[in-house]
Amino acid sequence: MTLQNSSDAFRSEYTDHSAPHPLLRVVDIEKCYGQRIGCTGVNFDLYPGEVMGIVGESGSGKSTLLNCLAGHLEPDQGEVLFDTRDAGLVDTVTMAEPERRMLSRTDWAFVHQHARDGLRMSVSAGGNVGERLMAVGARHYGQIRDEAIDWLGRVEINETRIDDRPSAFSGGMQQRLQIARNLVTGPRLVFMDEPTGGLDVSVQARLLDLLRGLVRQMGLSAIIVTHDLAVVRLLADRLMVMKDGHVVETGLTDQVLDDPQHAYTQLLVSSVLQV
């Protein structure tokens, strides 16, 4: 199935109020870098508890799209509607900056490809996990530390490492620490940009296993950008395939991977090396 809805058709489809409420609704997002297209004509809904994968080759606009959704880049047009706790669906693109930054500290989380981008390397593991708690007003050291210990345990980092700096951690541990740091405030939507990139396969497998557990336990919604089809096979419910800034195919993960329709998706699926 190919998705090239016009935005009008897309809107009218969702005026039906009996449908369950989406957590995130993306309407006709476009971002250009001068003459070059970053991504264009992207529409989708993400429902609570759903994990959506975005795959495509390098330069296909995956990361541009993710950064637009997470508020790191301002899209040239389109809406990113998020189901806020108090006001329902609100366009986060036009939202006031303090509110958007508040969202990104509380209801959103962003896991970077390189843990170094998402961690404070000069601050201990405990401080890294506690930062979001302190940012939303936690002022009790003992409670912050207990919470940090709890979260280090959940991402399988030994409690004794709590006062070590991330620079003393291995790549896999740094990535797990970054995840703990992001999930500590109980976000509802997690953006992940190549969460397993740069890790060796056994560490990848462990991280994926952990992520899958956390996503299911906490009922998280997530958008995962990756070029690794195995990652989306494991984690994602739905899949969006991008090429040259356009969405060329969407559907259930198994459906898209097992029965690819678009020529590019067929190429992508057949390019995976078999061991």
Binding site: E97, S124, G126, G127, R139
Partner: protein
């Protein structure tokens, strides 16, 4: 000296600095950018404080300069002489006689009053600087009141040292709004910052001025279970016996001998003089 304008700086520059000071007073704790001038002394010697003093002084003012509490150290002496020469104002070492006090790293022990102005020399005005190197980002954090990071620093202190080990430049929150660097004063002085005198902060190299109007609420940041504590060396002054003043540790020989003395020399001298006049212990207490 007729070769210089009063207090060295030209009138236009003083007006520019006064505008920054007024803006700073209107928004307590907010760092106002200003066009800092080259001064005839190196950065780090108090160019910010000197410019603020120059813009504040009037011919009737009595000027006092302290450096780490002392009136007689190089920095204090040279700045005092500078204004003696360029402004011809009276100077004093007695805290209660001064109307403008320029200070580096201390607040005088004697309580200040509403007729006095305290001018601080500030090396790095941005309290978030070592946590967030980008100026654009720290400005945004100030404007959006995102101060969680400041507590991360205190958290790190407790995690590493078992207590909040920050002993000077201890971050404060001003009137429940701006987080401010009180300049590198010892945290012993933090509780004194809610005071009747006007407090002006000048950072020459960083080109920032900020200010606290009289009686501004200044709260030191802390955790509920690790409350702020104004600490000092657990001794009394070797020279005057004061047990309520901030003390310097002085090494007196090469045998490991050391004594503790008041860092505020004016306070210590006044106490010693009072003790010589009135030798009985009861009278001593009364004189203090």
């Amino acid at each position: 000296m007729t070769d210089y304008n009063f207090a060295y700086l030209d009138e236009q520059t003083k007006r520019m600095i006064r505008r920054a000071i007024l803006k700073g007073l209107a928004i307590p704790g907010y760092q106002v950018p200003f066009a800092s001038r080259e001064m005839p002394m190196p950065y780090g010697w108090g160019t910010g404080g000197v410019q603020v003093s120059a813009a504040t002084l009037t011919p009737e003012d009595v000027f006092k300069v302290i450096d780490q509490g002392a009136d007689d150290t190089t920095n204090a002496v040279s700045i005092r002489k500078f204004f003696q020469a360029t402004a011809g104002v009276d100077t004093t070492e007695e805290t209660d006689k001064a109307t403008v006090i320029q200070t580096r790293h201390r607040i005088p022990e004697a309580a200040l009053n509403e007729d006095q102005i305290l001018v601080y020399q500030v090396p790095i005005p941005e309290p978030l600087r070592f946590l967030e190197p980008r100026e654009t980002e720290t400005r945004k954090m100030h404007s959006l009141e995102e101060y969680g990071l400041m507590h991360v620093k205190l958290y790190e202190d407790i995690a590493r040292h078992g207590a909040i080990a920050t002993a000077y430049a201890y971050p404060v929150k001003v009137e429940g709004r701006y987080v401010m660097d009180p300049s590198p004063i010892p945290k012993f002085d933090n509780p004194k910052m809610t005071m009747p005198a006007i407090q002006l902060f000048g950072a020459g190299r960083e080109q920032r001025i900020y200010a606290l109007p009289p009686y501004t609420e200044v709260v030191s940041l802390d955790f509920e279970d690790y409350p702020f504590e104004a600490s000092k060396a657990d001794h009394s002054c070797e020279l005057c016996g004061a047990d309520d003043s901030y003390l310097d540790e002085v090494i007196v020989d090469d045998q490991g001998g050391r004594i503790f003395v008041c860092s505020d020399t004016a306070y210590c001298t006044a106490r010693q003089a009072a003790q010589q006049d009135t030798p009985t212990p009861q009278a001593q207490e009364a004189a203090v």
